[in-house]
């Protein structure tokens, strides 16, 4: 009796969750449907609701109209460079805050936390003016440099270092004559590797998906990142669904594939970061 009841409850539970999953996954399904069909098949009543075989035609249309491949490489370059640099600067600073004593440490760290609360809109217009005065419009440094050392990454790395790296290890390193940087490089880095996985992918995804800033500092199509190219495609070819959707699919797929491989660590990283705040 009890067993039967809990089994029913279990089915109800999975049923509810699957409704949620359906809402969550359906737009991806619809994206694939649209990008594999002719626009005329999507825009008729009733629309085609299953995958078609026009994907390569649609892709071809994308490639003929915009330099998609170039945007892809631009985005890949900017995201990868940003992620690597963020990892280095944030882990070095986070490790330093967690494991060393020096005058002014508390004040400096508090300052860092305060900067996290300032909305980026406040500095948005002047940042653009500076970038343009520096001649950085249409350059990748404009996309990479301002975000390099971010407070969240340092905070995250500090928390992780405090938990994961034992002082005894560092003391042993000091006895062996390691200087501060060696302590970070030889002892800190190997232990911080799991934190690297999270922060690296988090940064990569954030930069990959960023839209407002690239939209403002890039106006040469040869320098566009994928998000800007997508939005242009959407604006110019908005009647050609097949084309726009094929581009959207191509721009989104790499991240989804990466996410599928690391979802477990990534999700626990997000949760841990939020709970610690």
């Amino acid at each position: 009796m009890n067993g039967k009841f809990s089994r029913l409850k279990n089915i109800a539970l999975h049923f509810l969750l699957l409704i949620g999953v359906f809402i969550s996954i359906f737009p991806f399904y619809w994206l694939i449907v649209m990008s594999t069909n002719k626009t005329s098949d999507i825009l008729k009543f009733p629309p085609k609701l299953i995958f078609g075989n026009e994907f390569f035609t649609n892709i071809n249309n994308v490639l003929q109209n915009v330099d998609f491949f170039k945007s892809f490489l631009n985005t890949l370059f900017v995201s990868t460079t940003s992620a690597v640099a963020i990892l280095f600067f944030c882990s070095l600073a986070g490790f330093t805050f967690a494991k060393f004593q020096f005058p002014g440490k508390k004040i400096l760290f508090t300052l860092l936390l305060i900067t996290m609360m300032i909305p980026s809109q406040l500095s948005f217009v002047p940042s653009y003016i500076m970038i343009s005065k520096m001649g950085w419009v249409n350059t990748f440094p404009a996309l990479i440099i301002p975000g390099l050392a971010n407070a969240f990454g340092i905070f995250w790395m500090k928390q992780y270092s405090e938990e994961a790296i034992h002082d005894s290890l560092l003391d042993a390193g000091r006895l062996d004559g390691c200087n501060h940087f060696r302590l970070y490089w030889n002892i800190g880095l190997p232990i911080l590797r799991p934190a690297f996985a999270f922060l690296g992918i988090f940064s990569f995804i954030s930069v990959w998906n960023d839209y407002l800033w690239p939209l403002v500092v890039l106006n040469d199509p040869a320098k566009y990142t994928l998000q800007v190219t997508l939005s242009q495609l959407n604006g110019i070819y908005n009647t050609d669904y097949g084309l726009v959707m094929a581009g959207t699919l191509l721009a989104t797929l790499p991240l989804i594939i990466i996410f599928m491989f690391v979802s477990r660590q990534f999700i626990s990283g997000i949760a841990a970061g939020a709970i610690k705040d």
């Binding site: 949620g20 825009l43 629309p47 330093t96 005058p103 995804i205 998906n209 839209y211 997508l230 999700i267």
Partner: protein
């Protein structure tokens, strides 16, 4: 042990103060490598954070098109802002979207987290991934997909409406429905994210509490409202704050969905989009800076208010 510690601390303070700068500087000098390690953040913040903030304050008192001379206008741009109906419309739009998205999103997230927290639930990893994947999708992509689902004439949703005998709805031709569409994108992208955060919070609530409630004859709904929600209060407060700050900065969804015009009658123009238009479409850099300061004020005030309300209602 404790006593010696305090003594040591006081000793330290006494030692550092009177002996003064000499020894402090020596300490700083000795640790110069450490300051070097943390310096990139502060240098970049000075250049791309602090300086622009002051610059933006300066700009907000000037009329400037980006070329030529700046003209000092004092508080004029702020007083103009107060009477600028399009600006207040954008404030109203932003709040409406905030209101439409926050409550369903956070409530949905709580329910999902509560369900996922069932002990011995199968496929938990699959569910977590499926709910979270919406959050790694770029907002531009999400908007493009949703635009086709909510299309005025050939949208998928209108097809479904016709199938079940309802009249098709011109989603993007109505001021209110435009906001519903934008809110639905926010909900879709962020519910899973918030659910994951709640789930992490739930896992710190001991199962014995639920078991005790079960013995007392409580049902699931009672447990949800009397155990889960009260114990998650600090985390709920955190997500409400984050959601509020995020909503006040909404830009990509309306801009990609409706273009720079912001849809019929500007019904989709948010505060950030208004700022963007002033600066990068109309080249009113000074005025855009004034807008950004008012936006900052609104975020600060609203966050504070939120904080107070959630704290009060929780305290009961």
């Amino acid at each position: 042990m404790n006593a010696t510690n305090t003594q040591e601390v006081t000793n330290n303070v006494q030692y550092m103060k009177p002996v003064g700068k000499g020894s402090l500087w020596r300490k700083v000098y000795k640790n110069r490598a450490l300051y070097l390690f943390i310096s990139p953040f502060y240098i970049l913040f000075l250049i791309f954070g602090l300086f622009p903030i002051f610059f933006s304050l300066y700009l907000s008192f000037h009329k400037w098109s980006g070329l030529g001379k700046m003209e000092f206008v004092g508080l004029k741009q702020f007083t103009y802002l107060l009477t600028d109906t399009t600006f207040w419309q954008s404030v109203g739009n932003t709040f409406a979207i905030w209101f439409l998205s926050t409550i369903p999103m956070l409530f949905g997230a709580l329910v999902i987290a509560f369900l996922l927290n069932t002990p011995l639930l199968k496929f938990k990893g699959f569910y977590r991934t499926a709910f979270f994947v919406t959050n790694v999708t770029s907002i531009v992509a999400v908007t493009i997909i949703f635009k086709s689902i909510f299309g005025n004439h050939f949208g998928l949703l209108n097809y479904v409406f016709t199938m079940i005998g309802l009249n098709p709805v011109e989603w993007l031709n109505s001021g209110i429905l435009i906001k519903v569409v934008i809110a639905s994108m926010v909900i879709w992208r962020w519910t899973g994210y918030n659910a994951i955060i709640y789930l992490a919070g739930l896992q710190s609530i001991p199962n014995t509490l639920y078991e005790a409630a079960k013995i007392d004859g409580a049902n699931l709904v009672q447990m949800f409202f009397h155990i889960t929600i009260p114990l998650l209060r600090p985390i709920i407060l955190f997500t409400v704050l984050m959601t509020t700050i995020g909503s006040m900065q909404l830009f990509t969804e309306p801009q990609v969905l409706l273009g720079n015009s912001g849809g019929v009658g500007g019904a989709g123009v948010t505060i950030t989009m208004y700022m963007y238009k002033q600066a990068f479409v109309d080249n009113q850099y000074g005025y855009a800076s004034a807008v950004s300061w008012v936006l900052f004020g609104i975020i600060a005030l609203f966050s504070l208010l939120n904080w107070k309300i959630v704290q009060k209602t929780g305290a009961k």
